[in-house]
């Protein structure tokens, strides 16, 4: 594929991510932080996030599986997930976490399970999206181009 075309696609894709509310300004900040000294900063942080969140999601699932659900623990996990997703800029995951916490406050097991599904879904969605994004970037880099800085589209 041609380099320019790829760059165009990347820009388009990034914009769509922002438009769909999957990512927010925080991700932009992350990108700003990436420079020569930390060339893979965004990827690093994002993969950290995914590792962490997988773990958290497992923990949450396990906690919810128990006979008597410890809502405090679930809440703490969700809170952590919310914090990390907010830091990465995964807005929709964050929003789902907010809903999740409400369920936790109500001690609503079914609601929690539903929210967990929601969070998982959002999580995989953002994961897929970001993986695609990074792949695109890698392709561009491999093709010898530079990744254009995402501009504020909103």
């Amino acid at each position: 594929m041609e380099l320019g075309q790829m760059q165009g696609r990347l820009a388009e894709y990034t914009r769509s991510l922002y438009m769909e509310g999957i990512l927010d300004a925080q991700f932009l900040q992350l990108q700003q932080l990436q420079d020569e000294s930390n060339p893979d900063f965004v990827v690093e942080v994002v993969s950290l996030f995914f590792e962490d969140s997988e773990k958290l999601l497992n923990d949450i699932a396990r906690a919810l599986d128990q006979q008597s659900v410890d809502f405090k623990r679930v809440d703490a996990h969700v809170h952590q997930l919310k914090g990390s997703s907010a830091s990465v800029g995964a807005q929709r995951v964050k929003d789902a976490c907010v809903a999740f916490r409400n369920c936790c406050e109500e001690q609503n097991v079914e609601g929690c399970l539903r929210c967990l599904q929601q969070v998982k879904q959002e999580h995989y969605l953002v994961k897929n999206k970001l993986e695609t994004l990074f792949r695109l970037e890698q392709q561009i880099v491999a093709a010898g181009g530079s990744v254009p800085m995402a501009e504020m589209t909103f």
Binding site: L28, E44, A76, H79, S87
Partner: protein, 1262 residues
């Protein structure tokens, strides 16, 4: 237009076109005129469709409620009415019942008695008649028997005749004695008949006898022995035969004497009277029967009794007595006449015997008169009564049966019918009395009926009235209920509205985090963009513009959030000691930058009785004034904005005197008002150690219309809507101000003002400082014999300042422009010189007041001249200013110059001034604190100078000046350090944790700091420190560079940091601003921008930061952020690790430091050891194992003995103030919300670490 829209008036319009009479047209016009405003209002309402929908909804809601309440009222009314009706009905019925029943009962019993009595009497009479008849009969029989015995067995005719004669006499006697008797007959065996008959109608008495010739004695005697049966037979035959054949004679008699009065005449037998024969006594006992005769119209009661012969073997004769029942009927008539009604007697078979009427009792038939049955009676009543009885009880009365019927309806009337059974042997009688009910019960019935009617009508009336009453009452109640329901619904609506507004506020407060974060991100990103080098000029301008707009938007957001915070009750005022004057000075400094831009003078005029320290929420107080001042500035294009403040004491009269200038004239007017307001609070305040601080913000702007004085404090309200376009703003500022002022127990209002502009008056209720010692600004310079020449451009500021100086014992002169200044200077010094030299009088050109001033100054011994020159007096547009400065050089030795700089005064001028030795430079505006600084500096300088003069010879001007300043600073430092020398530990700890301490301490800290700094820089006065810092690199002497060369590397960034920090006027951090106040330099943002931008990249250079964060993502992000800014980051995963890291590092570092610094003196060593190994800790609040709060507590505890204070910044995802409070409570110093805002983090970190950096640097330098 109106007619087109409204169909109603469309119909009107054709009528207009027709040739109508004018009056009608007028009326129509009027109607349409009425319609128009209505329509316009509806159109207006249509515009606010949203509101109207809500209103309609409310209305419908209210309507349904009204309807339902109406129904309920209706039902209640109905129920009450029904109940009333039932009650009244019951009452009526009961009343009626009791009256009626009891009366009826008693009456009935009475009537019964009466009837009984009535009936009893005729029956008694009947009885009497019967009795007398029987008595007579018996008597006749006995007499007859006697006579027969006497003439026993008459054999001869003569004897026979004699017998008959004697019988006749006896019978007559009996007959005469009984007037009521109708007839007495004696029928002899032989068929001879003797009878007396009395005709009641003709009142004649007759003797009737049969022809004696026909009867033989023998014939009769022969058959005497036959048995009764045969004798009977014989009698019968005889009588029949005799009757047929016999000839009877009737002889009229004198009814009294019995004498024969007429001739006997023959009559047919049995014609006149009924002669009782043997047939009537078949068994030889008495018999009764009712007979009728042709000649009487009443039935006759006849009794027959046989006369036995002496031997008692045969019947010799039969005696018959007949009594007319006429007298019974007579009695009945009499009775009935009295009592009315009908009485009749019948035989058992129903034949009428006697009635109370005149109706005939007998019926004429072919066989002569016959008894009539009662049912056939001619009298209707009797007939009907009989019929009724028959119908009711059948034909036969049982013997014992008595009938008492009370309500027999006969014809059209009610009757009482009573029947009695009279038992007579062989002749049972039935008496019947029929009395019309009317006669007995008529009145009663009538009364009862009337009573009933009256009762019913009365109860109906009561019911009706009751219903009306209920209606009226319930109407009132229902109205009240309706009102109440409406009220309730209104209250409900209000409550809901409040709740929703509360929800709104709460929502907004909760949204603070969500709203601020993106804004902060936008601003942060814009800052990053601005720092970018590759922007073109236009881009840079655009971005700057965006930056400004974003800041404005953020400010607006903050305003709204502040407001909502206050409204939702989340705002908690803190209670800390602060220097109110200093805060206000800082504000004025800040705003003066804006002021100078558009030619408005900002003057701070605080009364001397203002306490130096007060307790309260400094940030909010500052916010109040910031809003007020910015508001005033916004609307003031030229003139001045004065902030006056004084403390309301019991001695308020002194205040007036203290009040400077034009304030005085407006003072009394509103003084009274204030007094009224304050008087009640004052007493309370005294007790609670509170004081009332009064302020005025007076501007010369466009003013506010008096009608809007109240409404300007409402949300989103501006005095004039058009100002939004020209001045911008949201109208939230004053609302926030009022809310805050009220929250502090004060009040704010717009007051009347003489001139143009607005005068805002407010008072605040603030606590006095805890220690109770009031510190005032009052100073007295009189003993220093100072003369101050105020060469200031702004009139108000100059006036107020000179007034104050005058009061403080300083002699002042004023100049408002350059020429005036020069004139005063020239003449003044000329005069002095001449006066000193030869007394030459050169005062001719001086104005008179100045003249006297000068004269009085001349009287002073060794005065010190201070000339305060506004840089604005110089002509800066051209290069003339240089010459002007040169001109002033002449007076340099004679007077001390203090320069008032503008924030945008160019470096060239500053350099030039400094080159000339003018070191005393302060920024506009001039207020008391600055003046005091200037005067103190001057006094100190002079003291030193005097000392020097006595010891040393004079050096060259410049050198001496430099040296002097050096010396001053040393003195200064010495004084300061000698203050602190006995407590070095204390000082160091102060210098680290001073951010939360009082201003006084701060002052002390900064002095040594700055003096140390000045030692390096060699030529700086405290007041111009920032300026010199800024120019540090360029200004430094080479030798000094050399001297400090080993420090430069770490010195430089810190220095710049300091500068850049000071260069952030909008920084929200208090420390930052205080720093900026201390340095008294409202900084020039523009000048510093580029350098700052450069430096900010590495603004955290050299800082060691411990990051405690469990989320790896955040940890990574924060690390990179901090590292990018040059900080060294040590990241740990939880609170426990953080504590551990701090502890082990502490010891390790301490050792290290000891080694490094071993050549230094011991004090420094200890100081160094006391340094925290991390300059700052970023602490996440929620962490596993040990959360941030816990960790902070432990850290603070471990620090407790050492005097260390490592700044801890909380990182939390909670954005509420309560969390902030919690953070600060456990000992954290600041608070950052996630996601981390780049810029805010930097400024927070810097504000917390600069002091550490200072002390560090100072120590390393030494």
């Amino acid at each position: 237009m109106a007619d087109e829209t409204h169909p109603g008036s469309c119909e009107c319009s054709p009528t207009r076109s027709t040739p109508m009479g004018t009056p009608l047209r007028k009326v129509l016009d009027r109607i349409s005129g009425f319609a128009t405003p209505w329509r316009s209002s509806s159109a207006l309402r249509g515009r606010r469709i949203f509101h109207r929908d809500v209103e309609r909804e409310e209305f419908q809601y209210a309507a349904t409620r009204c309807l339902s309440s109406y129904y309920s009222v209706f039902v209640a009314r109905l129920a009450i009415m029904v109940m009333l009706a039932i009650l009244i009905g019951l009452l009526t019925i009961l009343t009626w019942h009791f009256t009626k029943i009891y009366t009826t009962k008693s009456l009935n019993s009475l009537a019964y008695g009466l009837r009984n009595e009535l009936l009893q009497r005729p029956i008694l009479r009947m009885w009497n008649i019967l009795n007398s008849t029987s008595e007579i009969t018996t008597a006749q029989v006995k007499l007859s028997e006697y006579v027969f015995r006497r003439y026993n067995k008459p054999d001869t005719q003569a004897e026979q005749v004699e017998l008959y004669e004697s019988m006749r006499d006896v019978t007559w006697a009996l007959f005469a004695s009984r007037k009521a008797l109708n007839a007495i007959t004696i029928n002899y065996r032989n068929g001879f008949v003797q009878a007396f008959h009395r005709d009641h109608r003709s009142n004649n008495t007759f003797y009737i006898y049969s022809d004696l010739v026909n009867y033989s004695i023998s014939a009769s005697g022969s058959s005497y022995e036959i048995n009764s049966l045969s004798s009977q037979q014989g009698w019968k035959d005889q009588s029949i035969h005799g009757n047929i054949s016999a000839v009877w004679y009737q002889e009229p008699l004198d009814p009294i004497t019995g004498e024969k009065t007429g001739k006997a005449k023959p009559i047919p037998p049995d014609d006149l009277i009924n002669i009782a024969g043997l047939s009537e006594v078949p068994d030889g006992v008495a018999s009764w029967h009712v007979a009728v005769s042709k000649y009487t119209d009443t039935p006759l009661l006849s009794a027959a009794l046989p006369v036995w012969d002496p031997s008692n073997e045969s019947i010799v004769a039969v005696v018959g007595v007949t009594t007319a029942l006429y007298s019974v009927g007579q009695l009945m008539k009499e009775l009935v006449e009295v009592h009315s009604g009908h009485i009749y007697l019948t035989s058992q078979e129903g034949y009428l015997l006697a009635t109370s009427t005149n109706a005939p009792l007998l019926r004429n038939s072919t066989q002569g008169p016959k008894l009539m049955r009662a049912i056939d009676s001619d009298d209707e009543v009797i007939q009907m009564g009989a019929t009724w009885l028959q119908r009711a009880y059948g034909n036969n009365f049982s013997q014992s049966h008595e009938v008492h019927a009370e309500n027999a309806r006969l014809g059209h009337e009610q009757y009482y019918i009573d029947s009695f059974f009279l038992k007579l042997k062989r002749l049972p009688l039935v008496g019947v009395i029929i009395i019309p009910r009317k006669n007995i019960m008529g009145k009663v019935d009538e009364r009862a009926f009337k009573t009933l009617v009256i009762l019913i009508s009365a109860s109906l009336c009561i019911l009706f009235i009751g219903c009306i009453c209920i209606l009226i009452l319930t109407n009132g109640v229902s109205k009240e209920m309706k009102l109440r329901a409406e009220l309730i619904s209104h209250l409900d609506a209000r409550r809901r509205a409040e709740a929703s507004s509360n929800y709104k506020s709460q929502f907004l407060a909760n949204m603070s985090h969500e709203l601020r974060t993106p804004m902060a991100a936008v601003i942060g990103l814009l800052d990053i963009l601005i720092c970018d080098d590759c922007l073109t000029n236009e881009q840079y301008a655009t971005v700057t513009q965006i930056r400004k707009c974003s800041t404005a938007l953020l400010r607006l957001l903050n305003n709204i959030l502040d407001l909502s915070k206050v409204e939702s009750g989340k705002l908690v005022l803190e209670d800390a000691e602060f220097d109110l004057g200093r805060e206000l000075e800082g504000l004025v400094d800040m705003f003066s930058v804006q002021c100078i831009n558009h030619n408005v003078e900002t003057v701070l005029d605080l009364s001397d009785n203002m306490p130096k320290l007060v307790r309260g929420d400094s940030a909010r107080v500052v916010q109040i004034f910031a809003n007020l001042i910015s508001n005033s500035l916004k609307f003031t294009s030229s003139g001045h904005v004065i902030i006056r403040g004084w403390c309301e004491n019991s001695s308020s009269s002194i205040d007036i005197e203290k009040f400077p200038l034009d304030h005085k004239k407006s003072q009394p007017a509103h003084k009274i008002k204030f007094k009224q307001q304050g008087s009640h609070t004052k007493k309370a305040c005294k007790k609670e150690n509170k004081m009332i601080l009064r302020f005025e913000v007076d501007d010369t702007g466009c003013g506010i219309d008096p009608s809007k004085w109240e409404s300007v404090f409402e949300s989103f309200e501006q005095a004039d809507p058009s100002t939004t376009r020209t001045h911008g703003g949201t109208g939230l500022g004053l609302c926030i101000v009022r809310t805050l002022v009220n929250k502090m127990g004060g009040e704010i209002k717009v007051a009347k003002k003489d001139g143009p502009g607005t005068l805002m008056q407010l008072y605040l209720l603030l606590n006095a400082p805890a220690d109770g010692t009031e510190q005032h600004y009052r100073v007295d310079f009189s003993k220093h014999s100072l003369v101050v020449l105020l060469a200031l451009h702004g009139r108000m500021g100059r006036l107020i300042m000179s007034q104050w100086l005058h009061k403080s014992g300083v002699f002042t002169m004023e100049a408002s422009e350059w020429n005036e200044l020069t004139q005063i200077l020239r003449e003044f010094f000329c005069i002095r010189r001449s006066a000193r030299n030869n007394g030459f009088d050169a005062q001719h050109s001086l104005s008179e007041p100045l003249n006297t001033q000068v004269l009085s100054i001349q009287d002073m011994r060794n005065p010190v001249f201070v000339i305060v020159v506004d840089i604005g007096l110089l002509d800066l547009s051209t290069d003339i200013w240089k010459e002007q400065i040169n001109f002033l050089d002449i007076y340099f030795g004679k007077a001390k110059f203090a320069w008032m700089l503008n924030h945008d005064t160019s470096n060239a001028i500053k350099m030039e001034l400094r080159r000339k030795g003018h070191i005393l430079m302060v920024n506009m505006p001039l207020y008391k604190a600055k003046m005091i600084h200037i005067l103190e500096a001057v006094i100190k300088e002079r003291n030193v100078e005097l000392q020097k003069k006595s010891s040393n010879a004079l050096r060259t001007t410049k050198e001496s000046n430099l040296h002097e300043y050096h010396e001053i600073d040393t003195t200064h430092f010495d004084v300061a350090s000698s203050d602190d020398s006995d407590m070095p530990e204390m000082r160091s700890s102060n210098s680290i944790c001073g951010s939360l301490d009082g201003e006084k301490r701060r002052e002390r800290i900064t002095k040594p700091c700055s003096s140390g700094y000045q030692n390096i820089n060699n030529c700086l006065v405290e007041l111009t420190r920032v300026y010199s810092k800024e120019n540090y690199l360029t200004e430094r002497d080479p030798c000094q560079v050399g001297h400090n060369s080993h420090d430069v590397q770490n010195e430089e960034p810190k220095c710049c940091t300091q500068a850049s920090l000071s260069a952030e006027p909008q920084s929200e951090n208090a420390d930052c601003r205080e720093q900026h106040l201390v340095s008294s330099c409202p900084t020039a943002q523009g000048n510093l921008y580029s350098s700052k931008a450069m430096n900010e990249q590495k603004s955290l250079e050299g800082l060691r930061i411990l990051l405690a964060e469990d989320t790896p993502v955040l940890q990574r992000v924060a690390t990179i952020m901090l590292e990018k800014m040059g900080a060294t980051v040590i990241a740990v995963g939880d609170g426990l690790q953080a504590v551990d890291a701090l502890n082990c590092k502490l010891s390790a570092e301490a050792c290290e430091r000891d080694c490094v610094c071993e050549d230094r003196n011991t004090r420094l060593q200890t100081e160094n050891r006391d340094f925290p190994l991390y300059d700052l800790i970023l602490m996440d609040c929620q962490m596993p194992k040990m959360d941030g709060y816990e960790a902070t507590k432990i850290i603070r505890k471990s620090e407790a003995g050492t005097g260390l204070h490592t700044p801890i910044v909380a990182l939390t995802a909670h954005a509420m103030s309560s969390d902030e409070a919690k953070c600060l409570e456990v000992g954290m110093d600041a608070y950052l919300t996630k996601p981390i805002n780049y810029k805010l983090m930097v400024s927070t970190i810097l504000s917390l670490t600069t002091r550490t950096a200072y002390v560090k640097r100072e120590l390393t330098n030494q």
